[in-house]
């Protein structure tokens, strides 16, 4: 889908004398300053070194912690190694699975809405005519995306307040309302879903819009002359260009929902009960409220495994140009 700049930009220049492709390494005796085999290393070292120290080392530390009994609330017990005890505990822990299931349910609730609204908005923004209004709407999509996630949660608490929230007022106009959104299980789940839809539909819309703009203009115009049906245009001309975006959206959104913390934490803290206890909230509570770092680390490592699978999938499906 995306012509990778590595192939288009760099390839023609690669055979140039001073820039040997990987296969033909420079002769060992070269004396030119800054053209040695190790040159890229010097450029990479600061970033890679930093990420090793702040990213990989803590991850390994979490892995080690996950094999220990590590309860900060009971430091006298020490932190002995206990093998797979934490993992067995996690795998047998109903509430861990419940929170993963809840996270999956959340994904399945918001995703279809975000996709449908996203495609609808993208089509409206792509449709010719009304250029000023279109530009305005396009720019406005950035606002939800940039809003601090925690502040989205604050706004959510105000909008979905039972007594003076505007959500109940607006629903009152159609004869509904009076819901105790954040006080009931279904209400709280719906409220965080609405805020998520608000924040992330623009993301879907922008990706689909980018896909639509890849349709060659001549083909689209010919098709518009050919058929008055918008649906036929969408199905036969535009759809193929939307598919790579769809893959990207599905994978990134699932990773993002596994990460989702700020907005939900501020709005509901996972409650009432466990109604909005998404996986990141749950692990945070085990680690920083119960202080059972061993168990929390085991849960986090399991989450990391899922994430790694997701990102391999993302890379496999979307960076074909590099992979091949």
């Amino acid at each position: 889908m995306t012509p990778n700049p590595a192939e288009t930009g760099a390839a023609p220049a690669a055979p140039a004398a001073a820039d040997p492709p990987a296969a033909t390494r420079p002769a060992p005796g070269r004396l030119d300053p800054g053209y040695g085999r190790l040159t890229p290393l010097w450029f990479l070292l600061p970033a890679v070194g930093t990420l090793l120290v702040i990213g990989i080392y803590p991850t390994l530390f979490a892995l080690v912690t996950s094999f220990r009994r590590y309860n900060l609330a009971r430091p006298r017990d020490g932190f002995p190694f206990v093998g797979f005890e934490n993992y067995l505990g996690v795998l047998g822990d109903r509430s861990y699975w419940d929170s993963l299931l809840l996270t999956a349910r959340f994904f399945l609730t918001v995703m279809p809405v975000e996709l449908v609204l996203g495609i609808a908005i993208a089509l409206m923004l792509h449709q010719p005519g009304l250029s000023f209004l279109r530009a305005l709407a396009r720019v406005s999509l950035v606002v939800p995306l940039a809003t601090t996630f925690a502040v989205v949660g604050l706004i959510g608490r105000l909008i979905f307040n039972r007594d003076f929230g505007v959500a109940n007022q607006l629903l009152g106009f159609v004869g509904l309302g009076g819901f105790d959104w954040l006080g009931s299980s279904a209400g709280a789940f719906a409220a965080i879903a609405v805020m998520d839809v608000w924040q992330w539909t623009p993301f879907c819309a922008l990706i689909f819009l980018a896909g639509l703009s890849m349709v060659p203009v001549e083909i689209e115009e010919a098709a518009r002359l050919e058929t008055p049906s918008r649906l036929a245009l969408l199905r036969h001309v535009q759809l193929p260009y939307l598919l790579p975006g769809l893959t990207a959206v599905l994978i990134l959104r699932s990773a993002d929902i596994l990460k989702l913390f700020d907005m939900v934490f501020v709005m509901t803290r996972g409650g009432p009960g466990a109604a909005t206890d998404l996986i990141s909230i749950y692990i945070q509570r085990i680690g920083f409220r119960v202080f059972d770092m061993g168990t929390a680390s085991a849960q986090a490592i399991l989450l990391l495994v899922v994430t790694i699978i997701l990102s391999r999938l993302y890379i496999r499906l979307l960076y074909k140009e590099i992979d091949s």
Partner: protein
């Protein structure tokens, strides 16, 4: 459907989109201008006499101004470091071929996916051991885990678009790679570097989880303080929404400045 009614429908759809994307933002700003009585009115009022009292109150509150200062220190430093460390790596990825390049690339991209809770647990324990909890430094460093990849990604793209002729000419003059990077790539790459710095700023400014678990009193950032108002019986909604507005407004302006690159920033370049 006739052309006219189609046009009307299109306009209507766009207006609905606009109000959908802007309403919560509008509600936050308008609530920040209400007095407590108007805020607690049921049903909510849409027309009211605006007041700046909430803003006066939060700017007088040392907790809020201190938190904004903390946020600025952390975010600017981490962004600066991300650019300093990330641009050379981007140059290497853009202009050299070496073994393991692809794996390195994927590792950078994978960082986009990883849940902050995975790192928050061990980093908390490590920071506890070396007495780094509640310092600017620990936040600055941990924010690099997501800022560095974004800077590297965007700048690699940018550096690749710089024509090679310039580099060849410099080489004939005897310039080494470090000079070429400093004198050609950095100045010509400024647009991409600026975009990546803005993304780095936005992501760090908006971050809550790390800031929540790694700080106590001293270095609470703006989002942490904004959420800390959410306790007690009668919430100071005007103050909360005014703080929210103060936090969100600068990043929104930044985001509007890079709106063309928004998708690229959020997908790590998989789509443009």
């Amino acid at each position: 459907m006739t052309g006219r009614s189609a046009r009307l429908l299109h306009a209507l759809g766009l207006l609905v989109t606009l109000s959908f994307t802007l309403f919560p933002f509008y509600w936050m700003v308008s609530s920040s201008l209400k007095e407590q009585a108007a805020l607690l009115a049921s049903p909510p009022v849409w027309l009211f006499r605006p007041t700046l009292a909430n803003y006066a109150e939060i700017f007088a509150d040392q907790k809020v101004s201190g938190a904004i200062l903390n946020s600025l220190i952390v975010v600017c430093t981490t962004t600066f470091l991300a650019v300093c460390l990330g641009t050379p790596a981007a140059y290497a990825l853009a202009r050299f071929e070496f073994r393991g390049k692809r794996d390195l690339w994927f590792w950078f991209i994978s960082n986009r996916m990883i849940s902050p809770i995975v790192l928050a647990l061990p980093v908390y324990l490590l920071a506890l051991q070396v007495n780094l909890l509640d310092t600017h430094l620990v936040l600055i460093l941990i924010y690099l885990t997501f800022n560095l990849p974004i800077v590297i990604w965007i700048c690699t793209d940018q550096f690749r678009s710089i024509p090679r002729d310039l580099e060849q000419a410099a080489r004939l003059e005897g310039a080494d790679q470090f000079t070429i990077f400093r004198r050609i790539y950095l100045p010509l790459g400024v647009p991409g570097i600026a975009v990546s710095a803005i993304f780095s700023f936005i992501f760090s400014w908006n971050e809550l989880l790390y800031a929540l678990v790694l700080t106590r009193r001293q270095v609470q950032t703006a989002p942490v303080v904004a959420t800390s108002f959410m306790s007690g019986y009668e919430l100071p909604w005007g103050k909360i929404m005014a703080t929210g507005t103060v936090i969100v407004l600068p990043v929104t302006l930044f985001a509007l400045a890079v709106s063309r690159h928004m998708v690229r920033g959020l997908t790590m370049g998989a789509t443009k």
